[in-house]
């Protein structure tokens, strides 16, 4: 970490980035032509601009982080609190993958990985990330090369091999947090196994980052992370209101800070703003849609290249997604995080995430959500990329729709690779689903 690098990063953080964003904002204000408002939607969320700024600033500053701060690439389910305690600048390839997907760059980047011999059956987040590594293409300008890779297999086994490949190409250390699958219950041995891994990482990270571990600071970061996730959970809970103050398509976007900036003050500050706005909307009866006729639940990761189209399509039928297992995942297990026993409770929090938990749990969770959010119909995205999320969906669909008497439909697609999406087939399934809902 050079002094000059540190000074440059600090300057860009405190002076450069704020000046640039202020400039951008005023330029955008001059250029902006009023976009015709879609009559299906209520007023847009006022804090969306702030979110955009936070995420743009995060990716922009990432360019100056290298050399100033140790940089880590991290999986979405990893216990990032530990890295925060050592001052790592974190990049989330999955969040970057979602960004590439939303910008419709999925196939291009996937192909760059396929040209190097990676199978088209591999997760497209992995292919987009590797494709970005090979081609250097990204909508984020430039991503800093990592000094460390940090991975947890609580979301899937693919990340293990994906990050091993990255470690091989980048020649940087890989730290892995191995979580046993939660079949029925965690034994003391399971929890010890996970907690001890976290403890054993500390001297490694001290050596790597050149910074001493400060337990009080770790606790404060953990507290911040916990508070942020709890706030996110409260934001989602406002959607129990009828009409719901936002749609799940909004939530897919507003999810970014809790995924990739969790444990930093900026994420917590943002969710305070979002929550205040959502609570105000709910109190005043301001809905995301002008007319909320039906309330739906979404299962699995977003179809990033279709978020806008789907948002418009469902809104045009007066159908609002009010809850999703996906957005809920960053709030679901946070109550286990206990500052009195941070290591063991980190094990609980990250070991019990939805993708590391059994199908019975998912069935119970989804059934409860149907009741809590007064859900009329269920849409399950069978994501070609994400096997752990997609396995069992047909059974979940059948059981939930039979037991709770609500229509359900499965859409076969992918998170970023739109070559795996068939417009006509999806349209027919969705229309038949709408017909069933409207007849109900």
């Amino acid at each position: 970490m050079s002094l000059a690098g540190k000074a440059r990063f600090q300057f860009m953080k405190d002076v450069g980035a704020p000046a640039l964003f202020a400039l951008n904002k005023s330029a955008a204000r001059k250029k902006r032509r009023p976009r015709p408002a879609n009559p299906d939607f209520g007023p847009p969320l006022a804090c969306a601009g702030r979110l955009k700024e936070i995420m743009a600033r995060h990716y922009y500053l990432a360019r100056f982080a290298k050399g100033a701060r140790p940089v880590a690439w991290v999986t979405s389910g990893a216990p990032v609190e530990l890295l925060r305690a050592f001052g790592y600048y974190t990049i989330y390839p999955e969040n970057h993958g979602a960004l590439c997907g939303a910008q419709k760059m999925g196939p291009e980047l996937c192909q760059a990985a396929e040209e190097q011999g990676f199978s088209p059956d591999l997760c497209s987040y992995a292919r987009v990330d590797l494709g970005h590594f090979f081609s250097r293409k990204t909508p984020a300008g430039r991503l800093p090369r990592p000094d460390l890779l940090f991975c947890s297999n609580n979301i899937c086994q693919t990340v293990v091999y994906w990050y091993k490949v990255l470690a091989h190409y980048l020649k940087v250390p890989l730290v892995m947090f191995d979580t046993p699958f939660h079949f029925e219950e965690f034994t003391e041995a399971d929890l010890d196994y996970m907690a001890r891994q976290i403890q054993e990482m500390i001297p490694e990270l001290e050596r790597h980052s050149g910074r001493r571990f400060d337990e009080a600071y770790f606790r404060s970061v953990t507290q911040l992370s916990r508070d942020t996730s709890l706030l996110w959970g409260q934001c989602l809970a406002t959607m129990k209101a009828r009409p719901a103050p936002m749609t799940i398509f909004d939530a897919f976007v507003h999810l970014a800070p809790v995924v990739s900036l969790r444990g930093l003050p900026v994420a917590q500050e943002y969710y305070k703003i979002l929550l205040a706005e959502l609570e105000e909307r709910a109190a005043k009866g301001v809905g995301a849609l002008r007319q909320e006729k039906k309330r739906l639940m979404w299962d699995n990761i977003a179809i990033w290249y279709k978020v806008r189209d789907f948002s418009n399509l469902f809104a045009s039928r007066g159908m609002n997604f009010v809850v999703a297992t996906y957005t809920n995942a960053w709030a679901e297990t946070i109550q286990y995080l206990n500052l009195d026993d941070p290591f063991k409770s980190v094990a609980q929090t990250y070991g019990l995430v939805i993708l590391n938990n059994n199908l019975e749990h998912r069935l119970q969770l989804m059934s409860q959500m149907v009741k809590d959010y007064a859900v009329d119909g269920l849409v399950l995205h069978s994501a070609r990329s994400c096997k752990p999320y997609s396995v069992g969906q047909y059974d979940l669909k059948r059981l939930i729709s039979q037991r709770l008497g609500i229509p359900a439909v499965v859409i076969e697609a992918d998170i970023t690779d739109y070559r795996m999406f068939s417009e006509e087939q999806a349209a027919t399934r969705l229309e038949a689903f709408f017909e069933a809902l409207e007849a109900a």
């Binding site: 047909y394 729709s401 499965v410 076969e412 068939s422 087939q425 027919t428 229309e431 038949a432 017909e435």
Partner: protein, 259 residues
């Protein structure tokens, strides 16, 4: 007296049905879709109207369904083929609780309640392996017409196994079986087995409730129907004209819309 039309524009055929206020079928037509969906829909509609002795001005309401449903300007409303096949099958056989529809480019299984309303459905995904197109491609490769297939399959003394579920790979498998002089009817039976296995797996996922009705062009193929019944271990009822079930359902929905 008002009359109603249902127009089903599929990937291979475009079909139309005309009914009266009592739901009696007065005319029907089956035409090839070809490259112009709108023209095909108009042709099917006009043929069905001619059979009923009516003209377009006599129609009170029309509903379009099928993949080309958006390119039928004379229809006042579009409804998916899932709802239409369900209602059409229920109208012909009111005891129907499961519809297996194998059309040109998709196959689906629909589960119905006692009123013919769709309870649940599954469809094939982005792959033509379990569809009419699969059989059409194979018939072409074997120098047969679609009508020959059923008869040959039923007459086959044995069968060869086709291992690939991909239409393109199965085609090359057929080429090599032909080259090794396997009897044509045994290859046909093997192809039918492949399509039945694929569709049956899909139907199994939905859960088979009797009575089961097959619709769509492939239901005309007695070889497929026999193997499907054997595979599912149940009886399968086939309407006299399985290709117009979707159009009939659309016509019935047109009557409901108007009323």
């Amino acid at each position: 007296m008002p009359f109603y039309a249902g127009i089903d524009v599929g990937s291979l055929s475009s079909d139309a049905v005309i009914i009266d206020q009592e739901g009696r079928m007065l005319g029907s037509a089956i035409t090839e879709t070809g490259a112009h969906s709108t023209q095909a829909a108009e042709k099917a509609l006009d043929l069905a109207l001619a059979q009923a002795g009516l003209s377009r001005g006599d129609l009170a309401f029309s509903v379009a369904t099928g993949y080309g449903r958006v390119s039928v300007p004379m229809a006042q409303k579009t409804i998916t083929e899932i709802s239409c096949h369900g209602l059409g099958a229920h109208a012909i056989f009111p005891n129907t609780r499961t519809v297996i529809d194998i059309g040109g480019q998709d196959s689906k299984a629909i589960s119905l309640d006692e009123r013919g309303k769709v309870v649940d459905f599954v469809m094939n995904d982005k792959c033509a392996a379990g569809t009419g197109r699969f059989l059409e491609v194979m018939a072409g490769k074997l120098g047969l017409t679609l009508d020959d297939l059923g008869r040959l399959s039923l007459a086959a003394a044995g069968e060869v196994s086709i291992s690939s579920v991909c239409t393109v790979f199965a085609e090359s498998e057929v080429v090599s079986l032909v080259a090794r002089n396997h009897p044509r009817e045994q290859i046909v039976r093997g192809l039918h087995r492949a399509i039945v296995n694929r569709v049956a797996a899909m139907v199994g996922g939905l859960g088979v409730k009797e009575a089961v009705t097959m619709s769509g062009g492939v239901a005309k193929n007695a070889g497929v129907v026999a193997l499907m019944a054997e595979r599912l271990g149940i009886n399968i009822q086939v309407p006299p004209e399985p290709q117009i079930v979707g159009a009939l359902g659309a016509a019935l929905l047109a009557r409901r819309q108007a009323g």
